[in-house]
Every structure is written in C-alpha cells, then in structure tokens.
C-alpha cells in the first residue's frame, strides 16, 4: 500500500519541527558570532535563518491542521481534542484547544514575530539586527525543545488508533475561543521582540534614543494585541461560562494581566527614553520583566501547577523544563543587566512638575499594582506547595488595592499629555485643567441622580474619573489647535501617534465606565421560573413561554423561550439553552443575550427543577459592553501609533512633531 500525504502529515510536521529547531539553533549562534567578529556574512544569515524558521514552523502547523481536518485519530492529540462530528471550523480551532497545540501556536507566533523583525528591521545597523534575531532564536530553541521533548503534538497512538476522538471540550466550542488564544499569544510573544531589543542593546552597549525608537512600535503592537486578547477572554468568560461575570481574578486571567500591566508601564517608559534619553536602565528592566511575566504566565498555565501543585510534582517533566528555561532567561538577562546597563550619571534633567514625573508616577503605580497582583496570584500556589492546603485569596484582596491604585492612576493620567517635557508650571496646568475638572465633577455628581433612584457615590466617582480623562484630552486637543486657521486644518497637522494616545486613553476611560457601572448597577435575579411565569428586573419583564427539546450536530439541548417586555411593550424573544454534549456527556450553559451599548440583558438556564420549571439567572448589566469597547479602542490606538509616519522614515532623526518643543533632546 502506498503511503499518501494524509497518513504522513504528522511525520512531516514533526520533521519540520526538528528542522526548525536546527534552524533556530543556528539563528541563535551564527549572527551572534558574526556580530562578535564583525563578519557580515554571518550577521546577514540571521534574516534567512529567521525566514526558514518561520516557513518550517508554519508547515508543521499546517500539518497539524490537516490531521485535524482529516480526522486522523491515530494522532494522540487529535484523538483527545477532536471528534468526527465536530464542524470544520471547530476542528481548526481545536488545534489550539489543548496543551501541545497551543504550544505549537505559541511557537508559530514567535516565528511570525521573528520573521516580521527580519523584514522590518532592514534599516537597523546590521550588528543590532543580527543580535536581536539571535535572541529571538534563543527563545525559539527553548520552546522548540520544550515541544519536541515533552509535548509533541504529533505523537501517534499505534498500532490500534481509536475509532473516534473524545471531542473538543464543549467550553471551547465557541467563536470566542477560536480567536482569543491567537490574539492573546500574539501579545505574549510580541514582547519577546522588545526583550530581544533590550538584550541586544545590553550586548552592544548602544542604549540611545534610537534604540528606544526601534523598540517602541514592537512594544506598542504587542501591548495592543494583549489588550484585545485579554478583553476577548473576558468577553468569552462572560457569555460562555454562564455566571454573568467578566473577570474573576483567577490565576489564568492574572497570568495574562501581569504582562499587560508592566507592558503598559513599558510603553510609557519607552516614550521617555526615546524623547528624553532618560530612564534607560529602567526601560530595559521593564522590557525584561514584561517578557519574563509572559513566560511566567506560560509556565503557570501550561505546567499544570495551577490545577494542582501535587499533580505538577508527580509529573514534573514539563513544569521543570519551563521553570528551568524561565530561570535561565530571567537570571541570565538580569545578570547581563547588572553588568551592562548604563549607570545613571548626574542629576536627572527634569523638574518635579513635568511630563517625566507623571510618566514616572505611571510606572511606579503600575509596578506596584503588578506586584500586588503577582503576590495574590502566587500566594495560593506557594501555600499549596507548602502543603498549607488549597486556599483562595479571592476578589476582596484584589479589589482592596487594585481599585484605589487604578483610580489614582486614572486621575494622574489626565495630567500626562498636558504637561511639558522637562518642566511645566502649575499655573499652566491649572489654566488648562480647571474647566475639565469642573465639568467632570458636575457630570459625575449628576449622573447617579438621573440614572437610578438610589444615589450611588461610587458611580459618581467612576463617571467623574472617566469624564476627567476625556475632558482633559479634549482640553489638550483644543490647546494644540489654538493657533490653527480652522479646526480641521489643525487636526491634520497633528501626528497619528498623538491620536493614538488620545484613542487609547479614551479607551481606558470607557473601560473604567464599563467596569465601574456594571459592578455597581447590575441587577440579578436567580429564581425558579415556571412556564407562564413573569420576572421583573427594573423596567424589563421576562416571561417564560415554553421549554423545547432540540437536537444539535453533536449535542442535545433544552431551550427556553422567553419573551421580554419593556414597560409593558414587546421587546424581543430570548432563547437560552442547556446543552448536553454527546461525546463527553458534559453539560453547557448557552446564555441568551440582548446586547446594546448601554445595557445587556442576560438570561442563563441553571438546573431543571420540575417538568415545567427551571432555576434561571436573569441579569440586567448596564454598560458592560464598554469594558470590551475600551479594550478595542486601546488596540486601535496601538495600530495608529505604529502607523505613525516617523517609523517609516526609520533612521532619519526627526524632531518630535507631537510635543510642544521645550529645549532640545539631551543625550547623556
């Protein structure tokens, strides 16, 4: 019998992975050697090797996708994550539904970013480019060895493969899970580029504003992906888990939030390093930390240490590998940092009241928040490791420090864009900001009065903070346009990166509104509902009309038909489901949602009580969409920032178009 491609795809995939490991090892070594001895040929090999690495990893990934689409259940990973009844799009997303495949996706992203660096960094000095690519190669070697030696997705079950697969976890059979991991990983892995730039800078000792300008777009892009990725995860949890929550402070979520927090500090610190050549060592340190936290997140989520420290101890191969890699990366880069980072000379060249100070405050606050979240995430793990038992630190701990610190950060946020580099006067800030302050105070105080009968002081605070951010941005915009002939002529002169900042900051305001008002004003009823019964939530009436049985492709379901009336008038019908998946036998709650900008109606089925009655969850969630809308704005801001034309004229030094010029750039 001749072997055709279907049967050989896994072997070819595995072979491609082995080749990529060889290529990435060469990518790690050759350009470094070249940079050390000044060999142009070796340095230039980096770009070709990066391209080869990307091509072979993509090929391996396609092989795995192919095995999934052709239901090759002799591949162990396919058998445990897919099923012949699964629709084709879930077969594709099932590729990253488990440990091995998501690791392969991680590596694909890494290869993609490495390839992108090879393409877009032609204008960089050759030795810098070579070193950056070599660091990317080093990370790739780590992860490719990890997948090949401990988590091979192409392992076969031979000689007797199962008849059918055990199906993809029903929680993951969803549009949210098709797009959430790739976007999130793009963010995680994207920070490896900034890390590579930082290490390359330490190696060469070239830590100038040019270095910051090269790394900035990469950091911004990775941050944008991470923002959107986290939001997608939260959105998915909201409608798929059936609890109506959108953030649980659970370790998996925190694992993605930690690099976001410190990455946010990083993109601001990079701005200072680019424009003012300050905070250099600090920026490098942040770049190292951001990527370290991405690795820590991968370790937490992928090592099994979260499900149980004891399971981790019993089967430590994977965890120990990632932990070892983590130690090498963090320990190695911190040692390099200690030996090579520039020593700060003399006094800092900025006043107490200046943009530098506000950005420093941003960095300090974000770092404190990150450390607190890290402690809350790791403490239960440490307790478990010490056999103190399983405990939860829980939302009370996180909210206790997170809300006040984040509030403070948002309050200070308004000052940053309005203040000058080097020095700014109090009078200038007062002149520009008293109106936004007063307007926001009025909006904040009035909002709870007209929104609901009961006055919520926290809602006033939330709305005040959000409008403070937005009105201060507007004040800044008008200030910049004060000398232009017309409004639009003035707008045209402003740079894209300025609009990027405006959009991203406004995104923070939107998310603040969403988080605050949803938490304060959510109305929820967990009740027993008989057919024909009515539940009233504020101005909405929910009537359970009937219960029907439905057969889906790979599940059966009970569906409730609920009529929603607003102020006595028909609004719409809602159809929540309780599904039972055939292959795994697990049940899933399919939430029915009525979405609008200012409120979501949320109906989920709990448990059947009798033939005609169910326990139901009916929620009214005001402003919940704003949480994710804000994150999308942040992502859009990142795109705008990277599209700014100054990055396209790469080498040529330009004076910053954005800022009100105060003095010239001071290089140490």
């Amino acid at each position: 019998m001749a072997l055709d491609f279907v049967q050989l795809a896994p072997e070819m995939g595995q072979f491609a992975l082995i080749l990529s490991l060889c290529l990435s090892a060469a990518l790690f070594v050759l350009p470094l050697v070249g940079a050390h001895y000044g060999s142009n040929v070796l340095m230039q090999s980096g770009r070709s090797l990066a391209t080869g690495f990307f091509i072979f990893v993509s090929f391996a990934f396609c092989c795995l996708v192919y095995s999934f689409l052709h239901d090759d259940f002799s591949v162990k990973y396919v058998a445990s994550n897919s099923n012949s009844l699964l629709p084709y799009y879930y077969k594709i997303s099932a590729v990253w539904g488990g440990h091995e495949g998501s690791l392969l996706l991680w590596i694909l992203m890494l290869a993609g970013w490495t390839f992108a660096v090879a393409i877009f960094s032609r204008s960089l000095p050759l030795d810098m480019q070579a070193r950056v690519l070599a660091v990317m190669g080093f990370v790739a070697v780590g992860f490719l060895s990890f997948i090949l030696f401990t988590s091979n997705p192409f392992d076969r079950i031979l000689p007797i493969p199962p008849q059918d697969g055990s199906d993809l976890n029903p929680l993951l059979q969803d549009i949210g899970l098709i797009i959430h991991p790739p976007v999130l990983y793009m963010g995680y892995v994207g920070f490896s580029v900034v890390f590579a730039f930082a290490i390359a800078a330490l190696l060469t000792g070239r830590l100038d504003s040019a270095w910051a300008r090269w790394s900035r777009p990469w950091a911004t892009m990775a941050w944008g992906f991470l923002s959107v990725g986290i939001a997608l995860g939260s959105w998915w949890a909201y409608y798929e888990l059936g609890w109506g929550g959108w953030w649980f402070w659970d370790p998996v979520e925190n694992a993605s939030f930690l690099p976001w927090l410190i990455g946010t500090a990083l993109i601001h610190s990079l701005a200072v390093t680019e424009k003012r050549s300050l905070f250099k060592s600090w920026t490098i340190l942040l770049a190292i930390f951001t990527f370290s936290l991405s690795l820590l997140g991968t370790f937490l989520v992928r090592s099994g240490v979260l499900t149980s420290v004891h399971a981790f101890a019993n089967d430590p191969e994977r965890g120990v590998f990632i932990l070892g890699f983590f130690l090498v990366v963090v320990g190695g880069s911190l040692t390099l940092f200690a030996l090579r980072a520039p020593v700060v000379k003399g006094s800092a060249g900025f006043n107490l009241l200046s943009r530098e100070t506000f950005l420093l405050a941003n960095n300090i606050l974000l770092t404190i928040i990150m450390i607190m979240v890290l402690l809350g995430t790791l403490y239960p793990l440490v307790a478990d490791a010490l056999s103190l038992g399983k405990i939860s630190v829980g939302p009370p701990y996180f909210n206790l420090f997170f809300l006040p610190l984040m509030g403070l950060l948002c309050l200070l946020m308004a000052f940053g864009p309005l203040s000058n580099w080097k020095r700014t006067t109090g009078l200038q800030l007062v002149n520009l900001l008293w109106k936004p302050w007063a307007i926001s105070l009025v909006i904040g105080l009035v909002f709870p009065l007209i929104y609901r009968d009961k006055y919520e002081i926290l809602a006033a605070l939330t709305v005040f903070i959000a409008s403070w951010i937005v009105t201060a941005l507007l004040a800044d915009l008008f200030y910049r346009l004060r000398n232009s002939d017309s409004f639009f002529a003035g707008l045209k002169k402003l740079s894209l990166s300025y609009f990027a900042m405006v959009v991203a900051h406004a995104g923070i305001a939107a998310t603040t509104v969403g988080v605050g008002l949803t938490s304060i004003y959510t109305e929820q009823r967990d009740i027993r509902m008989e057919v024909g019964q009515k539940v009233t939530v504020v101005e909405y009436d929910f009537i359970l009309n009937k219960l029907t049985h439905i057969d889906g492709p790979n599940y059966t379901a009970e569906e409730a038909l609920i009529t929603v009336m607003k102020d006595g008038k028909f609004l719409r019908e809602m159809k929540p489901q309780k599904r039972r998946y055939l292959a795994s036998g697990s049940t899933m709650t399919e939430v029915a949602l009525d979405v609008s900008l200012f409120r979501d109606l949320y109906v989920a089925m709990g448990e059947p009580l009798t033939e005609t009655a169910w326990a139901m969850r009916v929620h009214l969630k005001p402003f919940v969409r704003w949480i994710w809308l804000g994150a999308l704005m942040m992502g859009f801001g990142a795109v705008l920032a990277v599209a700014d034309k100054r990055y396209r004229k790469a080498i040529k030094q330009e004076s910053p178009a954005v800022e009100v010029p105060v003095g010239k750039l001071v290089n140490e």
Binding site: V330, V343, Y379, A383, L388, I391, S392, P395, D526
Partner: protein, 183 residues
Amino acid sequence: MNKQRLFLFIPLAIFVLLGVLFWRGLSLDPNEMPSALLNKPVPAFDLPVLPAPENPQGLVSANQDMLKGKVSLLNVWATWCTTCRQEHEFLNTLKAQGILIYGINYKDNAEDAQRWLAELHNPYVFSVVDEEGRLGLNLGVFGAPETYVIDKQGVIRYKHIGDVNQNVWTKVLDPIIKELQTQ
C-alpha cells in the same frame, strides 16, 4: 567597579533571593509553622448572624462567648472562594455526624451567601457576617477556606489552612477533637 553599578545588581539579587526562599520554603516542614493565636481565646467580636432557616430561633447577632461549651470547628468561607465549594459538601457530612461547625462568612455579599447556603445546604450552627474582614484580620486569616478547632473554653487549639476533606479529617482534625472532648 563603579559604586553605582552595584545598584544595578539589585534586581538580580531580589530574583535570586526569591528563588532561594521559594526553594527553601519547599523543603521546610509545614507542620512547624506556628500560629500566633494558637492556644489563645477566639478574638472578641460582635457580628450580625447571616439569616438562614437553620439558625437558632431569633438569633440576630453573635459574639465569641457563644462558641464556648462544646468543642467545635470555626470555618472561614465565602462564595467567591472556589475551594470552599468543594469543601462545603464535606462540611455537610460532618454536620450529619454531629460535629458543631460555626461559620465566618468572610468579605462576602450577604445575599450571595444566603443563596449559597440555600442551594448547597447549611452545615453551620450559624454563620456570622464578617463583611469588612475585621474578625478575619484578628484571626490572621490569609484567605478562604480556613478552619479553627475551638475547645470548650473557647480557646483556639488548631488552625487548618485550606479545605477540610476526608484525609485532613481522619488524620488531623478528628484526633484533635476526640482528645479535646475527653478533657
């Protein structure tokens, strides 16, 4: 070497220190961890009681003296605590065996807590509502769940961090309680 360069070693030093601490922590004997309140009376409190049909008639608030008289367990729980949900079922079986369990509903929403008890059954004689976490602070609560063994005089005799399960019960808590009951 430049003096200021030494400062740049701080991040590495912290990282190494954390690594060493973590490593040592893993090899320490957890049973040697002292509890500050061991063999001391339960800190004074006067807190509202979470309304539940199983509560003693007319009980609105409770204080530390109400824990005296019999050997009992004092269990810290909350609806946001996922481990508590796993633990809850075992607490129900303990109640069925006649063990007295008092609850501290720790930093929680009272409505959610009532719904939780109605749904999962109520193993507690009563639960006090420690919404601000004051009592938790005085007890030195790290997180939930935690369980204290209280003797007849209202003195804390043992503190267990994490969930109470069959294993913990037969190996640790049950022997302690049996011994205290004979005193």
